[in-house]
């Protein structure tokens, strides 16, 4: 069964001087967020989100679900997973890299098995598949000590 999700953005003016707004999303969970070229392309984002930050959020959320699924299937569901995703955007080239960092609290699992499960989840998650071929995805996985 296909699932559809949508979002609406408005933009006024030129790229450099104009500004946009993520007006609403189908779920209503996010909306009214300002976006500008400056917030996207300058090192300091001044409280505004960007397409690249949204991709990082999508990937972090997607990866966490794929990994929880893999761990539960192995008989060791996680107590908690902390995932950080960082995208690298090179203006004029595009999104070149995504770095996933995950720390897990998984009773009864050893480090090697956790790393293997995380590696598999990196391949399987739908956002990884959508980025595959265009974006270099790296992973650092460790168990909470």
């Amino acid at each position: 069964m296909a699932a559809e999700r949508h979002a609406e953005v408005s933009w006024s003016g030129s790229l450099m001087e104009g500004s946009g707004r993520i007006e609403s999303t189908g779920s209503g969970a996010i909306g009214g967020l300002e976006v500008t070229w400056a917030s996207r392309s300058e090192p300091d984002e001044s409280g505004r989100t960007s397409p690249e930050e949204l991709i990082a959020a999508a990937h972090a959320a997607c990866f966490s679900m794929a990994l929880s699924h893999a761990l539960a299937q192995a008989g060791t569901p996680p107590e908690r997973l902390d995932v950080q995703a960082t995208s690298t955007f090179v203006p004029g080239t595009g999104i070149t890299q995504m770095r996933l960092d995950v720390t897990g609290r998984v009773p009864g699992m050893d480090e090697a098995a956790f790393r293997a499960a995380a590696g598999q989840a990196k391949e399987d998650c739908p956002v990884s598949k959508a980025l595959a071929g265009n974006v270099e995805i790296s992973l650092d996985a460790r168990l909470e000590s």
């Binding site: 979002a7 189908g26 989100t49 397409p51 071929g133």
Partner: protein
């Protein structure tokens, strides 16, 4: 060449079917601790966002900027662009859940621009949009656009 980094954080607790997560825009803090779950990702959203909705938001934001840039280069910066993107995920036999399509719908108010030049600008905006390029690597991108008053 500048390299711009943006970070987001997610926390997940429990298994995939009954557990739940929440995530935060760690770079900008433009949104914080939004909850998500499998049920609201593939079923009714019930007010919760999902990775695919965030992809749709990223694509619509990116496309709007790309088109604003093309129109400005033509000497016709837009008065207003409304861009709606719908991201479609399907369970593809043998390959699991995949993003199969991103549908872009543009309504544009651009003083002084004729239909032909608008169509060309939309094509160039699609070709230059980072998110269109990413998604096209693995799925379809369909763009429809119209000029309004």
């Amino acid at each position: 060449m500048p390299r711009i980094e943006r970070t987001a954080q997610a926390v997940w607790e429990g298994n995939v079917a009954r557990g739940s997560g929440r995530f935060t825009a760690a770079s900008s803090h433009a949104f914080e601790v939004l909850p998500y779950s499998l049920a609201t990702r593939i079923g009714s959203p019930e007010g919760r966002t999902s990775p695919e909705e965030l992809l749709a938001a990223a694509h619509s934001g990116c496309f709007a900027m790309s088109l604003a840039s093309e129109l400005t280069q033509l000497g016709n910066p837009p008065k207003r662009l409304d861009v709606t993107v719908t991201c479609v995920v399907d369970d593809v036999e043998g390959r699991g859940h995949l993003v199969v399509e991103s549908r872009v719908d543009v309504q544009a108010s651009v003083p002084g621009l004729d239909e032909d030049r608008f169509r060309a600008a939309v094509r160039d905006a699609d070709a230059g949009c980072t998110m269109s390029a990413l998604i096209r690597g693995s799925a379809e991108v369909d763009v429809s656009a119209r000029l309004s008053d």
